[in-house]
């Protein structure tokens, strides 16, 4: 039976705008990216020259590439406590039934909705030599003298990681909060009757039941960390001495500061493969844990 108003092509017509956008702005560029990675192309002196695997070989001998890779990895590791662990505790804290708790949730989420540009600028004031952070740390006796965090090779990377973590923590808190609200209160009451304290309840009930959400948080954290760019662009531009040069920033700078499109695309492909590899690895690890729990 043919329904009125529905021809064989009706579903395709509905999907057409999305499919056209997919073709033009995703599929076509994805194919172009693969082509580019085998070309030398600077956008000024056409035509592009086919160079085979040269771009990939060049990476092996490029110290800055390895620095960037290492820094991206440090980003991933440094963000783990800030984006996978701490937000879980925050979520437990704001999952309590207290008057006004929604206001606190909202305040913790505030940095998530503001632009990384604004956040980066705000933190430059906090990090200033005469700024509030130096005042607190020297006042508490943790520092002898004020530090210029974003200009100090030892401190710049931790400082940028801190800002990235601070900005996105609320987002991860919400992932966990969605998970916490699926745990029935009765389980906690039973545990309380059995004399389990808050720490015990967290370890034996909350964390095991949240494993699927921890898996989501971990995956998103890795993908976020590998793609960190705007914070670095706004605060350090990869410096000082390349200590905050991440893969994402290096790709951008190779492409749009040096117009080395082929090399940048090749590094982009490596980043892509790394991200997919990490996502699969993560899926395997957390899935195993779910079964064991």
């Amino acid at each position: 039976m043919r329904l009125p108003g529905q021809r064989w092509y009706t579903p395709y017509l509905f999907a057409a705008p999305a499919l056209v956008l997919f073709g033009v702005f995703f599929a076509w560029p994805a194919v172009t990216a693969i082509q580019l990675s085998f070309l030398k192309y600077d956008m000024i002196s056409p035509p592009p020259v086919f160079v085979g695997g040269d771009n990939f070989v060049r990476m092996l001998g490029d110290d800055r590439f390895w620095t960037a890779l290492l820094n991206s990895f440090l980003f991933l590791v440094g963000l783990f406590p800030l984006l996978v662990v701490a937000p879980l505790l925050l979520a437990v804290l704001v999952n309590q039934k207290l008057p006004g708790i929604r206001t606190f949730r909202m305040l913790y989420y505030l940095p998530v909705v503001t632009s990384m540009v604004a956040v980066g600028i705000a933190w430059e004031y906090v990090f200033h030599q005469q700024g509030v952070l130096n005042w607190m740390l020297t006042g508490a006796g943790l520092l002898d003298r004020p530090i210029q965090y974003l200009l100090d090779p030892d401190w710049a990377l931790p400082a940028v990681i801190l800002v990235e973590g601070w900005k996105n923590m609320g987002f991860y808190m919400m992932i966990y909060l969605a998970g916490l609200q699926t745990i029935p209160e009765s389980i906690y009451e039973a545990a309380r009757v059995d004399g389990a304290g808050p720490w015990r309840r967290l370890r034996s009930i909350t964390v095991p039941l949240l494993v699927p959400y921890i898996a989501v948080a971990f995956t998103v954290e890795m993908l976020d960390a590998m793609q960190a760019f705007t914070s670095i662009y706004v605060m350090t531009r990869g410096g000082p001495q390349d200590t905050t040069l991440t893969l994402g920033y290096y790709i951008w700078s190779a492409a749009f500061e040096r117009y080395d499109m082929g090399y940048a695309s090749a590094m982009g492909l490596v980043l892509w493969v790394l991200m997919i590899g990490l996502a699969i690895l993560n899926y395997r690890i957390t899935r195993g844990r779910t079964v064991m729990a």
């Binding site: 395709y12 999907a15 956008l21 580019l36 804290l93 909202m106 913790y108 540009v117 604004a118 705000a122």
Partner: protein
């Protein structure tokens, strides 16, 4: 018990200060008069008296109203357009059988796994070839396909009972009418979620406009602020004032719509 509760509020407030503090410092710097130091040990955060000079300065030293208007245009065009594109694509995926349905779904879903930095370069070349470099269209069009939007709406539409849709169909309703009069009203909460997430992401968009635009007259506000920060000699009070102003609209929208955010996260994670 009361003591415990007071302690809890103390902890909650201390954490809130960590998240709001940097914005307060920015606000304080943007309102301080010229003769009051921005930095000092101990911090002196209350402006005495608060002045609006720096707001005026930020407004006039860069084409602030232009950037603001541009951001309003980007949001005003992109948010409705991406919601409609998502909904149109999600409807057949949820409620029709057709050849290639899974293929369409997975193609859209796969866009989530393409790293932004990789796509930046070829997308810039594609947009240049299409003659859209340095134009509003070049900023807008690539941002209209959202796997998240299609995904969330497909779930919502799928929960509309089959009977309702079939009844409308046998009554001779055109598919577009069903889409408009049955599907969209049923998906109102999801549409609200997509609207707010879309607003936040477009308002804060930075990397793509940075790559595609040369003419600063088309900059969205976030890019304009970064431009202001990059001008050597920009007064730190002016920069603070300009930055604070740039986040006020998004903070207001967020406060008005915040109850939808948790719902949105729940839907996204569960799926």
């Amino acid at each position: 018990m009361i003591l415990r509760r007071a302690g809890m509020y103390l902890v909650l407030t201390a954490i809130a200060l960590v998240f709001v503090g940097p914005f307060l410092i920015l606000l304080s710097a943007g309102l301080k008069p010229a003769d009051q130091a921005v930095y000092s040990f101990p911090p002196d955060v209350i402006p005495r008296p608060p002045v609006l000079d720096w707001i005026v300065e930020a407004w006039t030293s860069i084409p602030y109203p232009t950037y603001l208007l541009n951001s309003v245009i980007y949001v005003g065009v992109m948010v409705p357009a991406y919601v409609i594109v998502s909904a149109l694509c999600a409807y057949p995926l949820a409620q029709m059988r057709f050849r290639g349905r899974n293929l369409v779904f997975f193609a859209i879903l796969s866009t989530m796994f393409l790293p932004g930095e990789l796509m930046l370069i070829p997308r810039f070349l594609v947009v240049t070839q299409l003659g859209m470099a340095d134009s509003f269209a070049g900023v807008i069009l690539p941002g209209l396909l959202s796997a998240f939007g299609v995904f969330l709406l497909r779930q919502t539409f799928a929960s509309v009972p089959r009977d309702v849709v079939d009844a409308a169909r046998t009554d001779g309703c055109h598919e577009l009418r069903i889409f408009w009069h049955v599907m969209l009203p049923a998906a109102r909460p999801t549409l609200a979620i997509l609207g707010i997430f879309g607003f936040i992401s477009v308002w804060n968009s930075f990397i793509w406009p940075l790559v595609v635009l040369k003419d600063s007259g088309k900059y969205p506000l976030a890019l304009g602020i970064s431009y202001l920060a990059g001008i050597t000699g920009t007064d730190i009070r002016t920069l603070a004032a300009g930055t604070i102003m740039s986040i006020i609209p998004v903070v207001i929208v967020f406060m008005l719509m915040q109850r939808h955010i948790l719902d949105g996260m729940r839907g996204a994670v569960k799926g």
